[in-house]
């Protein structure tokens, strides 16, 4: 992880980039070069970049904007910048002593001096930057966490094992959070405790991540080890990871007062029938999930379909990093406190709650999509309560698109209006027998778009394909323009792809999400 000092060159002109690469190569530096701001962000967040040389007039995302974005990202906040400019300019947030502004034409010796200085600072930093490092085979994670706890340390503990990488955030010796891929909190921490092989590095740094794990380190580790032991003992009683499950009861008839994990599991089974997927998406620790699954199987509340084929995890690129960053830019630039905004809301206005369910079924095939767990945990009747957050899609650049289901019954305008500030789009879903609510939908759409200009997607959920005559009728009632498509609701991956591609492409176009009266 450490060791390589990569200089990222974000320069507009290719000729200039080539000259730079040659120069740095001659001085023994590794470098990566890009021609626009979006690519620069992508590389800065992916690679271990120690310095960024940036042209202020960079295309796509300007040099100054690039600086603001990376400075505000915890992964890249410490990277020094060397700005190149034709004129004397003021750069917002410029860190005296860290960043440098050089006027063109500059002298190569001067440039080398600055790069060397940065390398020295980096060197100093890395001396104290890693307090502890080693192999898990020599020191277990429990021991490391205990040492950090007793010494009241603050920083990030990076753990790698094969292709897997995890971070444990520690503040005042307490475990604040743990993240392993998409999994977080205790669930991630307890999984990490089972790692026997791998390496660890502790980087003392200010931890800004919110505290997501409660309890003392001692109690957490004790509980984690207990779960691990219990899991090993009961492994044979648990269903196979590739087994497919289904519920054998009507989940709407569940009694009150069951453990929240039961409601959550029964809710998630419909979306993630494969045991491993279900365990990954359930908010409870793995052992608790397996134990509950085993108990539900014994009581025949759920069934196991052993011969089901293994489902493949979608790995293809759904939204390109460039598009994701442009979407994020579009959303966050409206706020003064950009750091606090990492999500945009997408209203699902459906005439029938089953349409929301179908929509979610389609979305579950999207990479990094999660069905809202709190919805399952808080609702006794999993079919009834789809008001509020129903799922979220995490985009590259750590931005969530939160799907927010809105009740079809009238009079909800004030509630929607109160949460319109970070709205990025809405979908209107209706079927053959919903003519009565269409006018209400049209009014809601009109009111919302008069306050915030957002893309609106129209989705028809009828039994048969939408005929020409019916399409004309709906276009008339809902006031859909001729160039706006009407999609047909389906539970397929292709449908979800089409919907979100359309949303994001529309969103980055022109001045969407701007405020003002567009009625």
């Amino acid at each position: 992880m450490a060791g390589r000092n990569i200089v990222l060159l974000a320069l507009k002109e290719k000729e200039e980039r080539d000259k730079f690469v040659k120069f740095l190569d001659g001085k023994g530096f590794d470098s990566l070069s890009v021609g626009d701001g979006a690519k620069a962000i992508e590389i800065a967040l992916k690679e271990a970049v120690s310095l960024i040389v940036v042209d202020l007039t960079l295309p796509v995302i300007s040099g100054e904007r690039l600086f603001q974005i990376l400075k505000n990202n915890p992964k890249s906040s410490k990277i020094p910048f060397i700005f190149l400019s034709d004129t004397q300019v003021e750069i917002r947030g410029f860190r005296v002593g860290t960043d440098v502004l050089l006027m063109k034409p500059f002298k190569w010796e001067e440039m080398y001096g600055h790069i060397k200085r940065v390398e020295l600072i980096k060197g100093d930093d890395s001396e104290g930057g890693k307090d502890i490092q080693g192999k898990l085979s020599q020191m277990s994670l429990v021991d490391i966490l205990q040492i950090l706890h007793f010494n009241k340390k603050e920083g990030e503990l990076f753990i790698t094992s094969g292709a897997l990488a995890a971070i444990v955030y520690i503040k005042d010796g307490n475990i604040y959070n743990a993240s392993l891929g998409e999994v977080e909190r205790e669930k991630a921490l307890y999984r990490l405790l089972s790692w026997q092989e791998g390496t660890f590095e502790f980087h003392p740094t200010a931890v800004t991540t919110p505290q997501r794990i409660q309890g003392t380190a001692g109690n957490l580790l004790m509980e984690g080890m207990r779960q691990l032991d219990e899991f090993e003992k009961a492994r044979d009683l648990f269903p196979e990871g590739d087994s497919v499950l289904k519920t054998s009861i009507d989940t709407t008839t569940l009694p009150k007062g069951l453990k929240p994990i039961i409601y959550e599991i029964l809710f998630l089974i419909e979306y993630y029938p494969r045991v491993n997927d279900l365990v990954d998406h359930c908010s409870f620790p793995d052992y608790d999930v397996f134990k509950t699954l085993s108990s539900l199987l014994t009581r025949r509340i759920i069934e196991e379909i052993k011969s089901a084929p293994k489902t493949e995890k979608v790995s293809e690129e759904f939204v390109s990093p460039t598009l994701a960053i442009r979407v994020k830019e579009k959303v966050i630039t409206r706020w003064a406190d950009m750091l606090s905004v990492n999500f945009g809301r997408f209203f699902l206005t459906a005439a029938n709650q089953s349409y929301v369910k179908d929509f979610l079924m389609a979305c579950k095939s999207l990479p990094d999509f999660s069905v809202d767990r709190k919805l399952a945990a808080s609702s006794r009747d999993v079919n009834e309560n789809t008001f509020g957050e129903v799922g979220s899609l995490n985009l590259y650049g750590d931005m969530d698109v939160v799907l927010f289901s809105v009740p079809a019954s009238g009079g909800m305008g004030p509630f929607l209006n109160a949460f319109i500030a970070n709205l990025i789009g809405m979908a209107v879903i209706w079927g053959d027998e919903d003519d009565e609510v269409l006018k209400e939908f049209a009014n809601t759409r009109k009111e919302i778009t008069s306050r915030r200009r957002i893309p609106v997607l129209y989705i028809y959920a009828g039994k048969a394909a939408l005929g020409k005559e019916a399409a004309l009728k709906y276009r008339h009632i809902l006031n859909i323009k001729a160039d706006e498509p009407i999609f047909t609701l389906s539970r397929t991956k292709e449908f979800a792809y089409k919907i979100f591609q359309e949303l994001f492409e529309e969103l980055v176009r022109e001045d969407y999400i701007s405020t003002g009266n567009y009625a």
């Binding site: 947030g93 406190d337 606090s340 905004v341 309560n385 509020g388 009079g411 909800m412 004030p414 500030a421």
Partner: protein, 344 residues
């Protein structure tokens, strides 16, 4: 009323052009405040700091029925300006914006800071404007940079636009300003509203919605707070379960830390003394909380008020609004009538 407003001769106010002679030296003419405001705008943008303007608009006298004599008008304005100058901070700059309008420039002040200034000014001017009976009507407006607009000129335009919005708001239209908290609660649920910003709905046996819909709304608001923990805001929840509202407690306790002040209101019980993470309990033993519920949520991006009254068979008649002036107003009423700490 419109006629009465037109009757106010504009030239009477032009006496303010001699403001330097009449008022304290800290009260400036429109040219100076304009120039100072521009500088403050540039400074705010350069250092990425918020700044706000507050406008006091002298709307009418005697409910628009008549105009006081010139001498009284001048005396009123002198008192008004001197009171404003006493209330604002030494770094704030006040001056004439135009006839009938006074502007206060508030450096390094965000949305809530501007609201607090308005509250301080309106409180200080309360007796002067009522004098035992409705005397002068003043509309207070504000705009905040960078949220509403950037630069002094844009901020003033935004705040001026807001003055007409305030006049149109349900709070002003229903003349709720001079009512007590529970009077407002009763009045607002009596009428039927069908706008996008104000609406009534029924839950329970008569309505299409279940009673737990109210609980769901509260959960969503708490989720919203959790999504943006650094955002300053204010939330009051008086639900049927009162302070013992376990679901809300659970959600609040799941938030690591929040800048939103959350208050759970209701009759004190065995839980009233127990601490709730991220919330303060307000124990009020008032029988009216048994069949009335409310949720007031306010931050610079969202304003929402939900007021429900229990009817026969546990059915609820609810009014809700996203009108920020109503939400600000009702929160102020609630704080005052129950002598609570005034945050807005």
């Amino acid at each position: 009323m419109e006629q009465a407003k037109k009757d106010i001769p504009e030239k009477k106010f032009s006496l303010l052009d001699e403001s330097k002679k009449i008022f304290e030296s800290r009260f400036y003419d429109s040219f100076f405040v304009g120039e100072y405001g521009k500088l403050e705008g540039v400074r705010s943008e350069r250092y990425g700091l918020p700044f706000s303007v507050v406008i006091l608009h002298i709307d009418s006298f005697y409910g628009g029925q008549k105009v006081p004599p010139k001498k009284d008008l001048l005396e009123f304005l002198k008192k008004l300006v001197n009171t404003v100058l006493k209330v604002i901070r030494s770094c704030d700059v006040a001056g004439m914006l135009e006839d009938k309008r006074i502007v206060v420039i508030l450096p390094h002040t965000d949305y809530f800071g501007a609201l607090i200034t308005i509250k301080k000014i309106s409180k200080a001017l309360e007796f002067m404007t009522t004098q035992g009976e409705p005397y002068a009507s003043i509309v207070y407006s504000h705009a905040n940079s960078p949220k509403d607009a950037k630069g002094y000129g844009e901020l003033v335009s935004f705040a001026s636009k807001r003055i007409s919005e305030i006049r149109e708001s349900i709070w002003e239209r229903m003349k709720l300003k001079n009512k007590y908290f529970w009077e407002v609660m009763a009045l607002i649920t009596e009428q039927s509203h069908k706008d996008f910003e104000h609406a009534t709905f029924e839950t329970g046996s008569n309505g299409a919605l279940q009673n737990n819909f109210i609980q769901k709304i509260n959960e969503i608001i708490v989720q919203e707070i959790a999504r943006r923990p650094g955002k300053r805001g204010l939330l009051y929840i008086a639900a049927k379960e009162g302070i013992s509202n376990q679901i809300i407690r659970k959600y609040l306790e799941a938030i690591p830390k929040t800048s939103t002040r959350v208050y759970l209101v209701g009759p004190g019980g065995k839980d009233s003394a127990s601490e709730i993470k991220n919330a303060t309990t307000i124990s009020i033993n008032d029988a009216r909380f048994e069949n009335n519920m409310f949720t007031f949520y306010l931050n610079e991006d969202s304003a929402y008020a939900l007021i429900c009254k229990e009817n026969w068979g546990e059915a609820l008649t609810c009014f809700h609004t996203s009108d920020p002036y109503f939400v600000e107003g009702i929160i102020t009423k609630f704080q005052r009538d129950y002598s609570l700490q005034e945050h807005v």
